[in-house]
Amino acid sequence: MAENKELSLEIKQLNKRFNVDGKDVEILKDINLEIKKGEFITIVGHSGCGKSTLLKIIAGLVGYNDGEVIRNGRPVKGPDTDCGMVFQEHRLLPWLKIKDNIGFGLKKSDKQKWNESVQKQIELVKLNGFENAYPSQLSGGMSQRAAIARGLVSNPDILLLDEPLGALDALTRVQMQKEILRIWKEEGTTMIMVTHDIDEAIYLANRVIVMSARPGEIKEIIKIDSTNAKVRGSSEFTYYKNKVYKHFFEDERTEVEYNI
């Protein structure tokens, strides 16, 4: 039991089905996963493999059929402040100023504490000077920073990131990856990020989870244990990249052989 306290998240035998036109469709099958406190996990998979659903189940936004999902030692019953989430679209509310968007999840009863918490996040994501701007005045990268700040404002133990950089241009994306890594190191929050960018997955993670599609199953969990693997273009990086690639393109390779 002592070991369990070190776990941020424990998923046992999780199954999820959606009912589509009276038929049950398996979305997630037999998911087993243990995530330690402070780990950075990335999940890669084809679109439609249920990775976003998995995140929503962890967040408590979506229910599940069988199995167990235990967040910080408690079974997940619904959303709670110990778990923040960042979506692919920043989902900042257009009618709230940036500071009010960031403080959206915090009770305003203690005004001073609210201000302090929000200010701390604004500094963490380097949005100083934009406290009173509206979301429409921010660039895509800045909006995502604000969304990350909103996710972190209640000091959650886990931050779920659902392809948060998917809509950004390549340069902003690389910059934001560095920022996320910096924030992760500063805050020590457990991060679980869904992405379809293999480079991003390897660059950020302690462990990369590769998922297959329909039904979504965990194919392989790849531990990234070499620091060199964080250097893009290093031989370790390429090694891991090939390892992930293999899962997605095995079919294609056989096709090529046929063609020859």
Binding site: A59, L61, G78, P79, D80, T81, G84, M85, F87, E89, R91, L93, P94, W95, L96, F104, G105, A133, Y134, P135, S136, Q137
Partner: protein
């Protein structure tokens, strides 16, 4: 600079109309009972202001509009919100309301005269019926069009229904409510004039109808212009109030 240009562009058509008017009264033999000269209309306008007739007509009509509009604004926003938020309320109310909406406002007038006479009551009810629907329909569209993504964010942060309404649904609906309130105001102004034209003993619509029986086309034209100008002013007032209520919309437009 851009503003001056906008105003000048907007003035092109009114100026052309005035030139055409001037041409018709000076170079054709149109009788003045059909189209009076511009100067005659100006002179009549001065007389109507001096005698205080125009002001008292306007006052009567405006009070009717404000009374009726206040009722329908409150009813329309409340019912629109209710139907937008609750599927059950929608199933109960929508069929009846949608059917009622198909009846043209003029078709209500005979029954309202039978029930309420030609006093203040019937006019106010006409305004309420006419302006209620645009306000309700737009409010409902604004509430039920709130993106589920935003509602999900509210769920993620455990906002209760009450807070979710005030921090997510209502702000999203405000620009739509504004549209509804503007349309409703325009419609109530039209409705009061229509009601006064048909059955009334006071108000600007009544004065127009009375002037027509005396062949005073100048009075009719003045009343029409005043009605148009008052309508524009009321529209602007609603715009100013709402642009103060929705500052984020302005920022969004500035960005383009």
């Amino acid at each position: 600079m851009k503003r001056t240009k906008d105003i000048l562009l907007g003035l092109i058509i009114p100026v052309l109309i005035v030139i055409l008017w001037w041409y018709v009264t000076n170079f054709t033999d149109t009788p003045s009972t059909i189209l009076p000269e511009i100067s005659a209309v100006g002179e009549r306008f001065r007389l109507m202001i001096e005698s205080g007739q125009l002001q008292s007509d306007l006052k009567v009509s405006l009070i009717r509009v404000l009374e009726g509009y206040a009722v329908s604004a409150v009813l329309g926003v409340l019912l629109g919100t209710l139907i937008g938020m609750s599927e059950t309320a929608k199933r109960i109310l929508q069929p009846t309301l949608t059917t009622t909406r198909q009846i043209p406002i003029m078709a209500w007038i005979p029954l309202l005269i039978l029930w309420c006479g030609i006093g203040e009551g019937s006019k106010i009810v006409v305004i309420v019926i006419a302006s209620f629907f645009p306000i309700m329909v737009n409010t409902q569209a604004g509430i039920s069009g709130t993106p589920l993504e935003y509602v999900e964010v509210a769920r993620l942060y455990k906002l209760n229904r009450f807070k979710t309404f005030f921090r997510v649904y209502l702000p999203h609906a405000l620009p739509h409510i504004q549209t509804g309130l503007k349309l409703g105001l325009g419609v109530s102004w039209m409705a009061v004039v229509a009601a006064e034209l048909i059955a009334s003993t006071s108000g600007i619509g009544y004065s127009m109808s009375y002037a027509r029986t005396l062949m005073q086309s100048d009075v009719v034209i003045i009343c029409m212009l005043v009605i148009g100008i008052i309508g524009i002013l009321m529209d602007k007032i609603v715009s100013v109030i709402f642009s103060a209520l929705t500052p984020w919309e302005k920022k969004r437009r500035e960005r383009g």
